[in-house]
Structure formats: C-alpha cells, structure tokens
Point group: D2
Chain length 434, copies 4
C-alpha cells in the first residue's frame, strides 16, 4: 500500500484496530452461542461484551505478542485485561486461531467489497452522465488507430458504462465468494465445538457458514476474488488508455481537468499531461499483480499450510486499497474530463469526407454501376483527396461519371452524419434501459 494511492476509508478496514475489533466480535458472538448451548456460563458470555466499545491498544498487544509469539493469544491476553481474567476464561474455548483469523479476513474482504461497490457506483454515475451529455457528439471511430466510420462520444462513455456495470455484477459475485466464515476447529471436524456456534457467529456478522472447511477457509474463494479485482483493474486501464489517446497532442479530443494553478507549464499551454490516466494504467498493473499469487495460494498441503498467509497480508490490503483509489480517481477523471467536440469534428474531417467513401461505393453499386467501375470511380476521387487535399464531396459532385449514377442530393445524403448515429438511441436503451 502506497499512501499517495490510498483512501482513508479503505485503509481503515485493514488497520490493526479494525482487525482486533473484528476478532473481538467473533469471540464475543461465539461466547453467546457457547452459552446458549450450555457449554459456558451465560454470565461469562455477557461479561465479554463489556469490551464492546473498546479501541484495542495495538502497542500493548504487540508487546504481549513479543513474548507469546502468537498473535491471537496476545489479543486474548489483552482482552482479558479489559474484562477481567476470571470472566475472560471461557473466551475462545474450543476454537483454533484460524477460526478467528480466516473469518476476520473474510469480513475485511467483504467490507472492502462494499467500499469497492460504492466506488464502482460513482464510476458508473459519472460515465452515465457523460454518456448522455455527449450522446450526439460526433467523433470518428477508429480501428487500429486509423479513422474508420463516425460514432459518438456518448457511445464511448456508454460502452465503458456497460463494461463497468458488468464489473459491478462480477464484484457482487466476488463478494459472495468470500462472505463465508468458519468456526470448525483444528482440522474442520467440529470435534471441539458445535456447528451451531459457527452458524451463530456467521449470522451475526453477515456471513454464510463455510459448508466444509479444514483448518482454513478454502482459498479458491480468494483466488476468484482477486482474479475479479484483476479484471476490474483491466477495465480501468481500458478507459485510461482511451483518455490518454484522446489527450495526445495531435488528437486533443479531450483533456484531464487542470485547475488553473496546476498547469503543466505556464509557458507551454499545450503541455498538459494526462498524468491521472497514465497513473491509472500503472495502478491497474499493481492490482493485477495479486492474481497469480492468489491462484498459487489455492493448493495447500493437506488440511492447511501457512504459505498463503504472507501473500494475503500483502495482497489483501494492497489490491483493495489500490483498486478503491483507482476507481475514485477514475470517477473524478471522468466527471471532470474536458471534452473538445470541435476538435473531434476537425479530426474527423482531416481527410475531407474520405471516411464516407464506403457509403458512396455502396450507393454506386446499388445504382447499377458495376462493382469494378464503382471502385474505380471512388478511388480516383479519393486519391485527389489523399494526394492533393481536395474535398471528397466536391470532387464527386464534379465527376460526370459519378453524377451520371447519383444525383447531387443522393451524393449529399451520403455525407449525412445522421446515417451513422441513427441507432444511438437503440444502443443507449440497451445499455441504460428505457
């Protein structure tokens, strides 16, 4: 986690204080369930809740851990300092550390997912607003970086919206993947603890009991979770690359918002760099980094080995914090993106009507001109545009062989941009609903 690429809300989820709070809740709910079963006295279970509003002292726990060399025991020792050794003596009974650790990790991932969903919703709202704003802003569509046919800026935003909406659905799935808890003991057999404890703890904490755990919750769930983050990150890169292209000097169809004081160079007004979208490109790589180790974490030895643990200490916070930051940066970028419709038109007309040559060709053929002749006619006029900078429509109108087949009005009609935008509403209805 790099401070400059993080938001405090997400960082807070991964703080030691949050983790200890979650550990406390798991232990306290487990005591309630144990008391309900008659395994431990009700009074002791109730006593635990006295620490409900405590902010646990991380330094003190670290101090104890330095002696016990065991993080969960250190926490429990400190907890006993709050509720009294006597009342605390049934806490954690029948449980193993992993019951607490794995359930807590999943709670953190679920909470992180909830923040990511908020961030995605902000991205979606921004994309939708800009899509409708520029629904009819014509620009040239490009394949291979080469001008192809007209499209609209609104369709570009709409397509990113649809992609991010898919990512939202994927994230909901990913959240469900990790929204499980396990209180099942040393090898998952519930030998020392009744399954109803797991059920109670999970219910109170918004989780589903893991149907079958070993000592740990199976890591295919986390692999799927981080793989999904990797896909979302790649979509961020997709939007970022589009913006970087739009901003490059020769294109300049859009620019990242620059506050007056922030200008790249006061002497070189063109020197406004798309640093946010470049940064998002890099952040996407950082989030994707988590995917392979998460996949490598799935195959553990027998009922568990602990190789996954160090990996998750890193990628748990890093991937969620970075993705959260990137989504909000992306949302802000889209919200404020400065669009230059006039430059879009200028670029589209760079080849003076040539992008319409396919339509003219088709029209000639449909007017009865042979395929070969149609090509010849279009090509000889296209070449005048290409080589001498002539205007394509003017040339066509002046070419007797062309006008013999198509009336001036018919030629004019081929240059009507409405031809290309006639289905924009249909597509918008598909993407945004009616």
């Amino acid at each position: 986690m790099i401070p400059r690429y993080s938001r405090p809300e997400m960082v807070a989820i991964w703080s030691p204080e949050s983790r200890f709070k979650i550990w406390f809740e798991i232990e306290a709910h487990a005591c309630d369930a144990q008391a309900a079963l008659g395994v431990i006295p009700k009074a002791n279970a109730e006593a635990v809740w006295r620490a409900k509003d405590v902010t646990f002292d991380v330094a003190r726990i670290d101090e104890i851990e330095a002696v016990t060399k065991h993080d969960v025991i250190a926490f429990l020792t400190h907890l006993a300092e709050h509720i009294g050794a006597d009342d605390a003596r049934f806490v954690h009974q029948g449980m193993t550390s992993s019951d607490v650790l794995d359930t807590a990790l999943n709670i953190q991932l679920v909470r992180a997912s909830d923040l990511l969903l908020v961030a995605l919703d902000r991205v979606l709202a921004a994309l939708k607003a800009r899509a409708f704003e520029h629904k009819d802003t014509v620009r040239i569509g490009r394949s291979h970086g080469i001008h192809a046919e007209p499209t609209t800026m609104g369709l570009t935003f709409a397509r990113f919206y649809a992609e991010m909406a898919r990512n939202r659905a994927r994230l909901v799935n990913a959240r469900a993947e990790v929204a499980t808890g396990a209180i099942s003991g040393a090898v998952g057999t519930f030998a020392n603890i009744d399954p109803s404890v797991e059920e109670h703890v999970c219910k109170m904490l918004g989780l589903t009991p893991e149907p079958i755990s070993t000592q740990v919750i199976p890591r295919d769930r986390h692999a799927m979770f981080f793989a999904t983050l990797g896909v979302i990150a790649s979509s961020i890169e997709n939007v970022a690359i589009e913006i970087r292209h739009m901003q490059r000097t020769e294109v300049l169809e859009a620019e990242e918002f620059f506050s007056p004081g922030q200008k790249g160079s006061s002497a070189m007004p063109h020197k406004r760099n798309p640093v946010l979208s470049e940064n998002l490109t890099g952040l996407a790589r950082l989030v994707r980094m988590a995917v392979i180790p998460a996949l490598e974490n799935v195959a553990l030895w027998h009922e568990r080995d602990i190789s996954h643990s160090s990996v998750e200490r890193a990628i748990g916070p890093d991937a969620t914090i970075t993705l959260d930051f990137a989504l909000h940066r992306l949302a802000g970028l889209v919200e404020k993106l400065v669009i230059y419709p006039e430059n879009m038109l200028r670029n589209m007309n760079q080849f003076k009507g040539l992008v319409m040559s396919q339509r003219v060709l088709l029209a000639l053929t449909q007017a009865g001109v042979s395929r070969e002749d149609s090509y010849r006619l279009v090509q000889r006029n296209a070449m005048k545009v290409w080589e001498k900078g002539a205007d394509f429509k003017t040339e066509l109108l002046a070419d007797p062989e062309v006008t013999a087949a198509l009336s001036p009005a018919e030629i004019e009609e081929k240059f009507d941009l409405g031809y290309h935008t006639k289905h924009v509403d249909t597509i918008f209805a598909r993407v945004f609903g009616t």
Copy 2:
C-alpha cells in the same frame, strides 16, 4: 495445444472445419434476417442454406486466402463456389469481418464451456462417490504437514467436491460472460445493418446480443472467462498435491491406479510414481498461463486494435483443451484412486496416541486440575512417547496424578475416534444436501 494432453471432442471445436461451419451459420442466419427486413431477396437468403451440410474445404480456403490475404473474404469466396456466385452476392452485406469472427469465437468458447461442464460433472461424480465410500475412513488431519487431529478421507473428498461445485457455478457464470454475439458493423453503430439482424443471429445460435460493441465484443468478458479457467486449474492442482502427498513413500495412504503391466519397476514394487497428479500440477500451470495475457487484452485502442487476436488464437484452444483434458484425467484418477485405510491408521498411530493429548489436557482442566498442572502432567507422559516410543494411553493410565483426576474409563474415552467424526454427517449434509 499438445496432442498428448488433449481430447478429440474439445480439439474438434477449434478445428478450421468447425470454425468455418460456424461462420457459415452466422452468415446464413444474417441473410435470413436481412431478407425478413427486405434488405436482400428472400430467394438469395434461402439459397445460402444449400451449403448447410457442406464440410468446407480448408485447403481450398487457405489457397484463396493466400491470394486475398483476408480470411473472411477467402471463406466467402469459397462459399460462393458452393452456392453460386449469383445467389451468394448478398451474403455478408452490411457486415464487417469482426461481426463474424467475434461471434464465432464466442460460440466456440460457449461450446468449450459446455464440454468443460461435462468434465466437471464427471469430476464431481467421482469425488462424491469416493467421499461416501470413505466417509468413515479415519485418517490423521495435518496442518503444516504435521499431524494434528483425526479426520476422515471422506471429508477430504467432500471438501474437494465442494470446491469443484463452486468451480462449476463459476464456469456457468463464465460461460454466460462470453455467450454474446455482435453484428454491429465497423465501429458498432449499426450504420449499415439493422440491430434486428444481430438479434436474429444471436437467437438462432444461443447467444445474447452484445448490448454495446465497437468493432469487437469487449474483452473484459474474455478476461473473466480465462481468469475463471485459471481458478479451476488451481483447484485441480489442489487435489493433485493432496494425492502426491498421500502417495509419497513414507505416507502411502493412497496410490494412483497402476494397471498390472504399467508398474513403474518390476523389481522395485514401491516405485509407483504419482505421475498423473504430477502431470496435473503442470497442466494447472499451463491453464493459468492464459490469465495474464487475457487481462492484458482488455485495454484496446479506441474502437479496436488487433493485439488481442494472436493471443486468443493461442489461449482460446490451449486453455480450454488443456483444462478439459486435465479435468478428465483428474476424474479418472479419483475414480480409480487406490486408498489404503490401514496405512492411514498406521500413520495416525505413529505417535501412539499423542494426537489425543489436547483432549486429555482439556479433560484434566475440566476435572479441576489447574492449567499449569494439567500441562505438566500431559507433557511428562507425552515426552515418554516422543522419546522412548511408549504408548500414550498406557502411560496416562499408569500415572497416579492423572488417574487421581480422571477415571480409566474417562481416559479411555479421550481416545475414542468417534469424538472426531461425530459431525461428519452434518458436514456431508451441508455439502451434498440431505
């Protein structure tokens, strides 16, 4: 794709013949829709179906492509050779190559998914059968590769079953991700073709129309697809590692089936190598290889660039063929896996009851012995086992300080394996339903 790691059914999906057949179907259905719209004559649309049962001549198409340098045009030219140039002249009207290519790729991925689902179902059936067969076969559970507490072989299979059932659900999602088609033209605006053509083609071919495409179907879908295959592959590795561990000489709780003639070494009967599960470990890496490039494929320039194409030519067939083969290999491996319950017992008893020390410790505490004393008592008897190979229960029964707190029957009870297996039915109900 490596022939020795492939099954003909999956390979067939990716053959040129299959691809051309799919291209044909897309074109023929599109003609129907165009005819229904009145854009092309009905007779021409009907004529196209004359090639319905043709197996297209790949060599001939290659020959034409060598001239035209364009695969779709080569195919269309060859198609015209079958249905007559005149009748063929409206085929592909208003479409671009990507309409055919991308829709066809998704059909291949959908068909591949269907085969993968069959393979997963075979794996699930095998795991379930072996789980019930060995529901009560006790073995030692291990954390960190070290003996922990007893569990059963059935639970091991049940856990793999649950993991593969999750993978099945993920694969169904992944299939839906790529089950879309697009007939939307050069930059996705439907400028030259009505959206109803796309709807008809998709409906006839079992796809959903892509709500918004550019020239291409968005690649976040394929990224999610291949990421999901990577997760499934990692689960295969998870099972494979377990089997490899069970088969290692010192453990020998299970062995891959060896047909009599196949023995690793006739002179060294112990030399039966877990080559199938080792192979599955490697195949998992091969499937996972597809994940990163699929993520890198998402960010295309503007309405499309073609950087993704070569990647998909490789990973499309390779990842699906390898995963399909691996799943069937895994199913066969599980179906025939030779289990050695007696070795499981032998291993569990290696430390002569020591795995029960935690229970004894707890019982002593509950019987009123102080925590410190309980530890001391357990430890001094455990040490006799560890250092001199004594039997733990015998030592406990002979220790007056222990018998002062626990009756012989109570001590006996702590060594009852039923304590550890009492919730196996509960867990099975969770995993397999009632």
Copy 3:
C-alpha cells in the same frame, strides 16, 4: 505454437525427428565414453554410429511407445531395429531416461538460442541502418503523449538498437544458462556411470557438464532462460507501440510497408492499419506467458518431480518459436518502415513554435529580465498562439517588451533546431561506437 506465427527453421528444432536425432547422438557419444572406460566393448560403441544418418521413424517409435508406455525405451527399441539387437545391447547402460531427456532439451534450447541470436542480429542491423538513415530527421519528442522538445527519428531507432543490443547480451547469458548436460543417473550420484561419460557427451555436443544434478538439471536455469525471453518480448512490444503511435491517423509519421495489392481499402487510402505491430504486441504477451510457469517449475520435490515436464513441452517450443517469428517480423517491419519526415515537421510545428517557449523563457532570464516578467512575456505570446493560432516567433518579434531584452537575431536563434540536435553525433558514438 501457431503455424502462422512460426518459421520452419525454429519449428524444425522442436520436431520429433530432431529430438530423436539428438537422443541418438547423446547415446552414441555415451557409448564411446563407456567403451573408452572399458565398461562396454569398443565394437558395440562403434556399431551404434551406423545409425548416424538415419532419420528416425516417428510413427514406428510412437507404435512401440503405445506398448511400452515409455518414450525413451520406445526410441531405444527402434534404434536397436537399425543397428541390430546384439550390437545395441549396451546402449544406454547405466543411464536413466532423464539423462537423455534433460540433456536433449538443453540442446534444443541452445539451438533455439542460436536462431534467436540470428534473428536479433537482423533486428539490430535493421535498426542501425534506419538510425543512420534518419539520424538528422527532426521530429518532436513527446512525454506523456504531449509534445515536448525536438529530437530526431535516428535517435528513436538508436535507442531501440541499444535496447536490442542489451537483449542480445542477455540472450547470450541465457543461452549459457541452459548450455549444460547431465549424465548422472537416477538421483545424480553417478552411482552407475562414471562422470567422465558426462564430460565426453557434453564436450562432443557443445555443452558444459552440470556441476551437480539430481535426476534432472536444475530448473532455475530454465526459469532464467524464459524470463530473459520475456524481457526481449517486452522490448519488441516497446518498438511496436512506437510504430503504432506513429501510424495513427492524426500522427502519420510512419507507416508499415504496404505492398500495392495489400492496401487496406482501395477506396479509403488512409485505411492502412499497423497490423504487424499490433500483432507483435500480442505476440509479446504470448512469449511472456512462459515466464510465470517457468518460475513455478523451479521448486521440485526432493530429487525431482515431473510437474515441470508438461509445462516445458508447451513453453519450450511455443516461446522460442513465437519469439523467433516476432523478431523476424519486427526486423522486416523496421527494414521497410515508410517514414514521413514532412509529417514529422508538420506535427512539430502544430503549435507554431510553442515548443521553443522554454528556450525563450531561459534566454529572457539570462538577459536580465526577472523570472516573473519572463514568464509573463512568454505566456502572453504563447496564449496568442494557443488561442488564435498565431506564430510564436512572429509574436515575439512584435512584442516590444521582448525585443527590449532580446535582439531579433537572438530570438531567431532560439528557433534553431540545431540546438536540439547538436549532440546527436555524441549519442550515436555512444550507441554504435566510433
């Protein structure tokens, strides 16, 4: 391996015929060494060489393998069919299959490296030629995709040359990593074969004896090899991205060569797509795919497990064949790249001298104008260029506050491109030597 992305010379290295030929050579040289030691009769060793010019019958060997289920034994059986069972009886004595398989793999990798070096040399020659050709062709340098200061096209080629020269040195290292052989027996102890056999075989086949092997040659070597291919592939992507940018419609400073018949669209002369460099971008991803599994292959169980084998069957040929093809494609692309110096000038002058504003600013300061005033002066003239399309130099010459500080000649001098190119020769000398 995808046929369309492969060259026959590299494919041949990985053919079964080549592999069997290498196996033969290893066995024959080993017989010589064994005979020299007196372990086997000289006559038998000599007899083996009778198969020196045999092209082994792959179908026949496959047939035998279908029975024996062992590739090396199948080969040896077939070899005996050529040299006579009696003469063949000492072949392979004291060796294990891995001695042959691993040594053969390394020979294939070494030969692949040699072809890759040839390909890299072709790339280097092309880059060098184009660098000198365009040493003084001025173009605008860009950071963040935004115009910065002038540079030359020759420097661009020179920088790619320097990068590829580094790759050449890395590949030489990578080749040395895998240029080892091992004939050390079942667990690498030489229990059944004298180390001198290994030394002889390696010497005859251009390898170094592996100082310490187990059953296998250690896989950190191969990890380093494939990691190096991944770096080279990334450099190919680097060049490809530059070309794709130069070719995009609004920039058009260069184009991939299009043969007359190959034009993207006869009617749309601007529609020439940079398909080769887009393809190279994808091929780079394919080569990089090999890196992670090669790293995962390093950690084998004890003296060997066979998990690496299936991975190498794929990535061995795939990564080398794809990289070889990509390097030659890149070389051809660079050799024939069509450069448009006039478009470079046009683009550079898009902002009518604004790229020189930094120099003017510096000059004003050095002429004694305060930093604040200098900024103000430059900025107000820059804004006229930016907002009204004026010419920067003309405006400066017409601004009395500017001319009070700088003479017209001094202002003119600031627009001298020679200022930016004065060290091109120095840099060329660094890159290409004197």
Copy 4:
C-alpha cells in the same frame, strides 16, 4: 512492504530521507560539473555542498509539495532553505526532474543489490557449511516423492549452494543492468545540458552513463532486474519445499530450529511446524509478483509516459525488501536446521533393502543370468519384502537360484552404500572447487 517481513537496513534505502539525500548528491555533483564547464559560477557549486550533512526534513518537503504539486521542485525549494536562495539559484539548471528521479531510483536499486548480495553470501556460507557437515550423511534420494536410490544430505545442500551461486552471478548481472544514470534533459538530447555533466555525476555515484536515454532510463533494464529477483525467489521456494518435506511428520529427516520456549505445543511434542519455510514459500510468491508488471512497464509511449512510476513505487521497495528478508530468513533456517541422520537411515530402510534391487538385477545379468530370469528372481524376492515385510538381502541369500549366480559376498557388496557415495567428493570438487 510488510514490517514483519523486512530488515531495517533495506528499508532505510527506500526511506524518503535516503531518497532526498541521493537527490541532493545528484544535484550537487551536477553543479560541480556545470561549474567546471563554466556554465554556473564555481562559488555557487561549492555552496551547495553546505547541505552535505543535512538530514532533509521530509515533513517540510511534503508541506511544500502540497503547494507546488511537484516533488522535485518541493525538494529544491527546501534545499534552497538550507543553502540560501541566492546560492541555490543555479541548482538543477538545464536538468529535468527525471534526470534526478531515474538516476536516484537506480542508485537505490544498486544499493539494494549490494544488500541482496550480502544476504546471498550468508545463504551460500550456510549451505556450504551444512553441505560439508553432512557430506556423508546418507539419505534416500527420491523421484516423484518415491524412494529411488541413496544419496547424501550433503549433496542436497551442495545442490542448493550451486543454485544460489548461480543466483549470485545473476544478481551481479542484474545490478549492472540498473547501475546507470542519465542527465540528458527533457527528451534525452542534451539540448540544455552538456553530456559531461552526466559523466561526472555518474562517475561520482558509481554509475555508468546511460548510452541513450529519452526522458527516462529505458525500462528493459528494470524488467531484467525484477525478473532476476523472481528467479532468486523461486530458488528460495525450492529450498523451502525441501525442508517442508523433510519436516513432515512421516518423514522427519530435519526440523526447523525451535527455541525451547517456542514449541508449537507443549503437550504435542511432534507439533513443530515448519512455519519459516512455509513463510518463505509465500514470500517467494510475493517477490515474483513484481515480474509481470516490470515486463509490462517496458513499452512506454514515445519518449516516456509515466505509467511505470506507480508500479515502481510499489515493487522497488517491496520486491527488494521482501527478498532481502527472505534470504536472511533462509540463511538462519539453514544455519540452525536440525538434521536427523538416524531418521534418514530409518526411512531409507523402510523397504528393507528394496532400493538396491536394481543393482542386484544388474549383477545377475552380468553374472550370465538371462534378463528374463534375472527379473523373475529379483521380483519374487522383492515381493516377499513388499508383501510380508521380509528383509531383501536375507531373502536373496536364501534363494538358491540367486546364490547359484552370485556368491554371498557378491550379494553383500550390492548393499554397500559406498557404491552410491563414491563420487560425492568429485561432485563437491565441482561445486566448491578444490
């Protein structure tokens, strides 16, 4: 970077204080060179060195950056606060931020490499010491996890030594890759600064001038650097997996050192978990994470884009800190590893001499028994061992058909472990020199 997996020496390299100190040195040396050229006054250059022993105030620089939004300018402003605005006015003249940033990054990577080399040397020393200590400690070699033929523990250590020695050589290469600096201006043309400044700065800071830079130092260098760290990490995993296998309950040929107080469980003496080597397995994944993004960083747009920057802010410190920690952890682990030679013998003899069956087979054949009969003889005695737990040698000595071919002494000789260890010295000489 995770505090618990880091060492202060390596963390210090990446602290803001260290970074600012390096920036200072670059600027100060550059001033010297500029003064030598007569570009700036000597007195000003000398004045800069007044800040030589300053520990820069990170909070103050952050404060300034909050206003200027530019890290290098913030630093320079703060530097001026130390040496006086007037004396500071020529600092950074003719340079761009990247000149400082990229050169500083490489200095950090070089210093990190130096620490990594120290760590590797500690690992090498530990492996060498243990190799010689256990040169003749016989253990069973295993392929596929299955007993194969005897080897020695010393050979295992020696092979890891050889692998790490290769890694050391690779790291030296990787260090050289990034040991370059660049002071070449906005697009690398030296337009505003003489190349001799770069030469001087590099010389004073132990770097080589980058032969051709753009605004940035080319990123193929860093890709190679991080790829090399990934290979080293994989070798750490290789050693870790071996130790984890040796420590698993059924094998127990070695154990990680446990200090008396650290026992996994006082009641279960067998419950000592190989947590360090499991942790190393995870740390290896974390280091490898850097490889793919480093490869993706190579292809930048034109003279530079800044997408690589955020990636390097993460992987620069993370990969080096984690690898450094892992190497020291590995060294400590190897230094203190508890080896159990008696368990090695026990495991090797698990099949009562069966591992020698190959030798007996060979001996029978050499004694003139036909291949088929030899097999039959060995197999029938092997089966008695396998099925009834007999002793192989005893059975052979009692089999008249065997003793007809081989004398008791000859049979005895086949069970001599010296046969397998006779070349250990040869191999040690290869690995460690004479």
